[in-house]
Symmetry: C2
Subunit: 138 residues, 2 copies
């Protein structure tokens, strides 16, 4: 399966997303400082903000908030996958699973599988793209 | 339906979550500066980072990243709903929907409905609590 779009994000439209195609992109390394900074503000559970307390938990050390991982994923999706000229936003997700802890120093990338594309029934100038995003550690 | 737990987050256990109970809590007002700061890092789409460009979109102005709204929700959930002594973390969400845009100056709170509680089949010292979280604007 191809992993590259024929077009850049600045020249990408509904027709460029093809069901079954797989795209791999992005690379971000997350630091302990960023994990703690994000979690202090949005998810201050001990295993996200306190390396010492985290060692006593089932995780054995500091892990990123699942919402932080989602944010890191979204940044890669915005930079590499979404059209910068035609994307209208998303109504949500059908499922979100945190399967493995993300730890300081981990490098993440994204694997996007286009599941379905569907022209809008009510508006002829737009369509819906359903995508499976998987965050992978290098 | 009661909206308060009989116990504080520092003395709350699996048995204190009761299916059918509804809990309302939290209050956070989100500023334009915070919306832009979050989105610059994690979701730099025009309608999240650029008030001028956002006016030309279907939203008519700046709106928060859905991931930012999720983070604001999580902070209220950590502060008021999750046990600070017994919570073990979450495997994910069955569904996530962004139904209304969040705009600068909006004040948000959370309505949590306990959908189901289930003792673990394999580990007798723990259980699973399934919750519907709704973010409401004041």
């Amino acid at each position: 399966m191809p992993t590259d779009f024929p077009t850049t994000v600045d020249d990408r439209y509904f027709e460029d997303y093809l069901a079954g195609h797989v795209h791999q992109f992005g690379s971000v390394t997350v630091s302990e400082a960023e994990i703690v900074e994000f979690a202090r503000r949005y998810d201050p559970q001990p295993f996200h903000v306190d390396p010492e307390a985290a060692r006593q938990t089932q995780f054995g050390g500091l892990i990123a908030s699942g919402w932080h991982t989602a944010g890191l994923m979204m940044r890669m999706v915005v930079d590499h996958y979404l059209s910068h000229v035609a994307s209208l936003a998303s109504p949500g997700l059908d499922e979100l699973r945190w399967t493995q802890p993300v730890r300081p120093g981990d490098t993440l990338s994204v694997r996007a599988t286009v599941l379905e594309t569907r022209p809008s029934a009510s508006k002829s100038d737009r369509g819906l793209v359903r995508t499976l995003f998987e965050v992978e550690a290098a």
